[in-house]
């Protein structure tokens, strides 16, 4: 790892100042994605600005018919939270399936979505529930947030402060795990909202996406029969050592059916 200067500001304002002033500064959250990549010298920064000392970024609260999760809330805290388990158990179980317990004790929701790894779990929950990403300067709808492979709508000096999840009638997250890393080969999030259904898929392509055909069919009749044999286009899916695009398309279709059955 190349050396850098380390900073630990106590509030968002100071963090913004630091990343504004320093040439090649980078935010650090749990470090579970950033530090491994720095160890491999895949990137180099002059400064790391650690958000770990900012208390206001941590925590879970109910806000009307939504759940607001602070950016620095670790996966293990979301997984064990009575508030999350009683309102959106699918999100708790998603968090509980990320990596391993030691990673979950340190990795954060803000870091996961800012990173936008194609095989990450949280993006499926964020898009599947139609969540809102709250930053120091604005609110970004989930559908506008994930732009592609490791790419998001975040500006260079923008900090995610929290994510607001609308509480669905029912939802489920199913993941076909890559056996060594636990990342998603395919992950499917299906939510039954007050006004229809949402279907989001992670792992299968370069970035999370919605399956609007399935959503439209489910809006007419929420039943597994309407998504049976659903064709998923392979053009934009990934082919790699873990699975071919053809296999991913097939799994996506089958898993959407199973997910719909689970929330019916």
């Amino acid at each position: 790892m190349y050396d850098f200067e380390y900073h630990r500001p106590a509030n968002v304002e100071d963090a913004l100042k630091l990343i504004g002033e320093r040439g090649e500064a980078k935010l650090l959250a749990g470090g579970m994605s950033l530090l491994p990549s720095l160890k491999m010298r895949l990137a180099r920064y002059s400064d790391l600005v650690d958000l770990g000392g900012i208390a206001e970024l941590n925590g879970i609260r109910r806000d009307g018919n939504a759940l607001v999760i602070g950016a620095m809330t670790p996966h293990a805290v979301v997984a064990a939270s009575p508030e999350v388990n009683s309102t959106i158990p699918a999100l708790a179980s998603l968090a509980n399936g990320i990596g391993d317990p030691l990673v979950r004790n340190r990795g954060t929701i803000g870091g996961s979505i800012a990173n936008s790894d194609p095989a990450a779990d949280y993006p499926a929950g964020v898009v599947g529930l139609g969540a809102t990403i709250i930053t120091n300067q604005r609110e970004i709808e989930a559908d506008e947030f994930f732009l592609g492979l490791f790419d998001t709508a975040l500006a260079p000096r923008e900090i995610i402060t929290a994510v607001r999840f609308p509480i669905p009638r029912k939802a489920v997250y199913l993941k076909l795990r890559q056996q060594a890393s636990r990342f998603a080969v395919v992950g499917v999030f299906v939510a039954r909202m007050g006004n229809g259904a949402r279907v989001a898929v992670t792992g299968a392509g370069p970035s999370v996406f919605r399956v609007k055909d399935a959503e439209a069919a489910l809006a007419r009749k929420f039943d597994a029969s309407v998504v049976k044999g659903l064709q998923i286009k392979q053009d934009n899916l990934s082919s790699d050592i873990h699975a071919s695009a053809e296999y991913r398309a097939h799994c996506t279709s089958v898993m959407i059916g199973r997910a719909v059955t689970a929330v019916s």
Partner: protein, 165 residues
């Protein structure tokens, strides 16, 4: 160079480090606490597991400076007055190791498991919760047995998960 201060196994320590110094390097190279091991370069093996403010984490993927003011427990800190911790004793009795390289991480991870899941651990739970720790020798069978026995033995034991957490 910046100075980092923390409590390690109940002792206040401090030292000069670089921004990039990892917690595991600080423990091993500065404090000479070499019980915490480095088994991989990809944050996957768990040999480096320690407790940071009571929670199991991979010290190869945490910066030393990020632990300023924290309380750390390593494998060197779990025995009390020269007497093995019940979890260590269980690894000994159930032959939960061969080369022993993964063992410090296994034990620190097992103690974190007891903190989260309690003392009555079935085999499935232990295997699932050990996802972050790799062993290249044992085939896990005796590690699982040892953790179940160690967790049960901790029930009657007055020692907390570890004395310093």
């Amino acid at each position: 160079m910046p100075v980092v201060s923390m409590t390690v196994n109940g002792n206040s320590v401090s030292g000069e480090v670089e921004g990039r110094t990892l917690l595991v390097q600080f423990l091993r190279e500065h404090l000479r606490l070499t019980g915490t091991h480095v088994g991989c370069d990809t944050s996957q093996c768990g040999c480096c597991t320690v407790h940071i403010d009571g929670k199991g984490m991979k010290s190869c993927s945490v910066l030393a400076l990020a632990c300023n003011g924290s309380s750390i427990t390593t494998i060197e800190g779990v025995a009390v007055d020269g007497k093995l911790h019940p979890m260590q004793q269980a690894f000994h009795e159930h032959h939960g190791l061969q080369c022993g390289f993964c063992t410090p991480g296994m034990i620190m991870s097992a103690l974190d498991m007891v903190r989260r899941k309690g003392n009555d651990l079935d085999e499935h739970t232990v295997r699932e919760q050990l996802e972050g720790n790799l062993c290249r020798c044992t085939g896990y069978h005796n590690i699982v047995k040892a953790i179940q026995a160690g967790a049960a033995a901790m029930k009657g034991d007055a020692t907390p998960a570890t004395q310093h957490d």
